[in-house]
């Protein structure tokens, strides 16, 4: 069944996400603080001890990954929040309105991607202040490109969150989700160490992690380089995988959401 999209409906759902994000200050602060800890303890502490990765300072090396972590957790959480909408009844208010479920979920995904990206921009600025990036015109161009990449990366993970939220009906499963989905994705995304030189099984696992390509893409934008494994067109491969992941996850999320019961 083809469901018509309504721009107004998409916009209003997106607007609600932004308002809620802005008001959930505790969530924003704790997520930003967590990322600062990572940057400070690993980037500065561990980094000073073990030196850089090739030519790159360790702090700079992990900065795109830590931004990616903010995106990953923020966007999956946004998607899964449909469980809360259902639990607290607001979902019914949306479902009984004369708009398609597709419009609602597109609004939700755009809203979640936007808030996660705002989070990403905050983290990028903090990393910059901590000295992770060499500020130049080239970098500014890269940073702007990075914002686009963040939106793209986040959209797929909001879709994943929506898909999970459509299947799971209670938020006790949340802990499981965090332990078995989000953390492995984060740890395998190549935030802390390069993929080259790792044992083969680990390399395979990392290559299966969509977040790996997200982090690669951000590294290309912010540092102008990526892993040797994917070569000099690594950014294109990463972009293609992220875009493909988006397409699959947004469709899956929309599909599962439209057949879920009230």
């Amino acid at each position: 069944m083809v469901q018509p999209l309504s721009g107004q409906a998409i916009y209003v759902v997106l607007l609600r996400e932004l308002k809620r994000y802005w008001r959930a200050k505790a969530r924003v602060i704790s997520s930003v603080a967590q990322s600062i800890f990572f940057l400070a303890i690993f980037g500065l502490g561990l980094g000073e001890f073990m030196g850089g990765i090739g030519e790159i300072r360790y702090l700079s090396y992990i900065a795109p990954g830590v931004i990616g972590m903010g995106l990953l957790f923020g966007s999956v959480f946004s998607g899964v929040s449909i469980i809360f909408d259902r639990q607290f009844g607001f979902m019914k208010e949306m479902l009984v309105a004369p708009v398609s479920r597709t419009s609602i979920i597109v609004g939700k995904i755009l809203g979640g991607a936007t808030t996660a990206t705002i989070q990403g921009i905050i983290l990028m600025s903090i990393a910059g202040i901590m000295g992770a990036f060499t500020i130049s015109f080239t970098f500014l161009g890269g940073a702007i490109t990075a914002v686009g990449a963040m939106l793209l990366i986040a959209a797929g993970f909001v879709g994943l969150g929506v898909a999970i939220g459509s299947i799971l009906n209670d938020f006790h499963a949340f802990q499981l989700l965090s332990t078995f989905v989000m953390w492995p994705m984060f740890m395998l995304s190549g935030v802390f160490f390069p993929i080259t030189g790792q044992p083969l099984p680990l390399q395979v696992a990392m290559l299966c992690d969509p977040m790996f390509y997200g982090v690669e893409l951000l590294r290309w934008c912010l540092l102008g380089t990526g892993t040797e494994l994917l070569g000099s067109f690594g950014w294109l491969i990463s972009l293609a995988v992220v875009a493909g992941f988006d397409a699959v996850m947004v469709s899956l999320g929309t599909y599962l959401f439209s057949r879920s019961q009230i």
């Binding site: 209003v12 308002k19 809620r20 008001r23 009844g89 019914k92 208010e93 009984v96 004369p98």
Partner: protein
């Protein structure tokens, strides 16, 4: 000129999990500008019917039209025609009252000027103007309800569905919401279907009442006509010794002027009720709250033996809970008679009791209420229901809050 039917329902059926018939082939019409009451216990199929009429659930068979649009084929038009105030709150508590209305207005495609104008009017109507910029999480239960009713009207629906609009609210708030509903109906001419299991509510608000039980329409008529079906008066006898009830009942059985005999609790006679409540340990506290909301509770004579056996245990927990929530009381010491010319028969009843050596503590005479009608047509008491788990949980929560301590179980 014939009345226009805003809603026409034909053989609507919903079967869950292939076996549970939540709604079983119901048909009825609702006239334009009417307030129709769905009266029935929890689980009778009221909400399921509304969910089908609002296109949230697809019927297993049958269909309906709402404002001339078919619920199966024109669901968007149906949704545009209706406002639905759900049983549980569906507000976003992180947003302000005004923002909740604004969200709704945008979702229904109202342009800015219209939206702002109507939000202002509706906030005034439900007297929330000065709280409009506060987040909904700071609102009381009654304020949330009023906001939801306002929201349901924002897009000027032809039809408004109100699902248990006053569930769990205190008597004053309930009264004020009733007045709002009545005013909306009179001023805007909006057609309303209201579900409730409070007979007083149906009686007060609704022109016609549809009694629904086990997913079927039991009867559909005006409140007055329904009560007129029960010819005669209700006489309630309060016995000193519950053991004598059975004896006395058999004496009354073959009197042709008695239409019905039920084991019952009174609600209308507060004094008699207080007295009888005091005799039951652990009840007096809930009595104070239940009594504020007159109502009554019956049990069929057939269930009587079972009832008295378990009543001691029930008294301690669930019965008190039920009564707090519904204002009804189960009374193991009462007998309820539907009698022709009740006033004239009282002396005869008293004489019979004297002759049999049965001691009556009090005799009460009154006109039949909707509770009596419900008992008469369904054979069970509206408050004697086994709700779903969700209802039970909710009830316990409300009770816990009201009492300020934990409910056992």
């Amino acid at each position: 000129m014939g009345k226009i039917n805003t809603i026409e329902v034909k053989e609507l059926t919903k079967i869950f999990d292939k076996t549970v018939k939540a709604v079983d082939g119901i048909s009825f019409n609702v006239e334009e500008g009417e307030i129709l009451g769905f009266l029935g216990p929890n689980g009778a199929g009221k909400t399921t019917t509304l969910n089908m009429l609002s296109t949230l659930l697809r019927p297993s068979s049958g269909t309906a039209t709402v404002n001339g649009h078919d619920i199966l084929t024109e669901s968007d038009d149906v949704r545009r025609s209706i406002g639905y105030v759900f049983q549980d709150t569906t507000l976003d508590i992180e947003l302000t009252g005004e923002e909740n209305l604004d969200f709704h207005g945008r979702l229904y495609g109202l342009d800015r000027n219209v939206r702002q104008q109507r939000i202002k009017e509706l906030l005034e109507l439900v007297q929330l103007t000065d709280r409009a910029d506060d987040r909904v999480k700071t609102y009381s239960g009654g304020m949330k309800r009023r906001l939801e009713i306002a929201r349901g009207l924002l897009h000027h629906p032809k039809v408004l569905f109100l699902d248990e609009p006053t569930l769990g609210l205190d008597p004053q708030t309930r009264r004020s919401i009733w007045e709002h509903i009545q005013r909306l109906n009179q001023e805007n001419g909006v057609t309303i279907i209201l579900t409730t299991h409070y007979t007083e509510e149906a009686d007060y608000l609704c022109k016609r009442i549809l009694i629904i039980d086990f997913g079927k329409v039991v009867v559909l008529d005006t409140s007055d006509n329904l009560k007129a079906r029960l010819e005669g008066d209700v006489v309630t006898l309060l016995f000193k010794n519950p053991k004598e009830i059975e004896t006395f009942r058999s004496l009354l059985k073959n009197k042709n002027w008695i239409h019905q005999i039920n084991v019952v609790a009174t609600g209308n006679n507060y004094a008699a009720m207080s007295r009888m409540i005091q005799n039951i340990p652990g009840r007096s506290r809930s009595m104070n709250m239940g009594g504020a909301m007159p109502g009554m509770s019956h049990r069929n004579i057939g269930d009587h033996k079972k009832t008295t056996k378990t009543s001691q245990r029930k008294t301690e927990q669930s019965a008190a809970d039920e009564s707090l929530q519904f204002g009804g009381k189960t009374c193991p010491k009462c007998l309820n008679l539907l009698v022709d010319k009740g006033g004239h028969r009282i002396p005869e009843i008293v004489k019979l009791a004297d002759e049999a050596g049965v001691i009556l503590e009090s005799v009460e005479l009154r006109k039949p209420t909707l509770d009596d009608v419900f008992l008469s047509v369904t054979g069970r008491n509206i408050r004697d229901e086994k709700g779903s788990i969700v209802d039970m949980v909710r009830r316990h929560r409300i009770l816990r809050q009201a009492r300020g301590h934990k409910v056992k179980g």
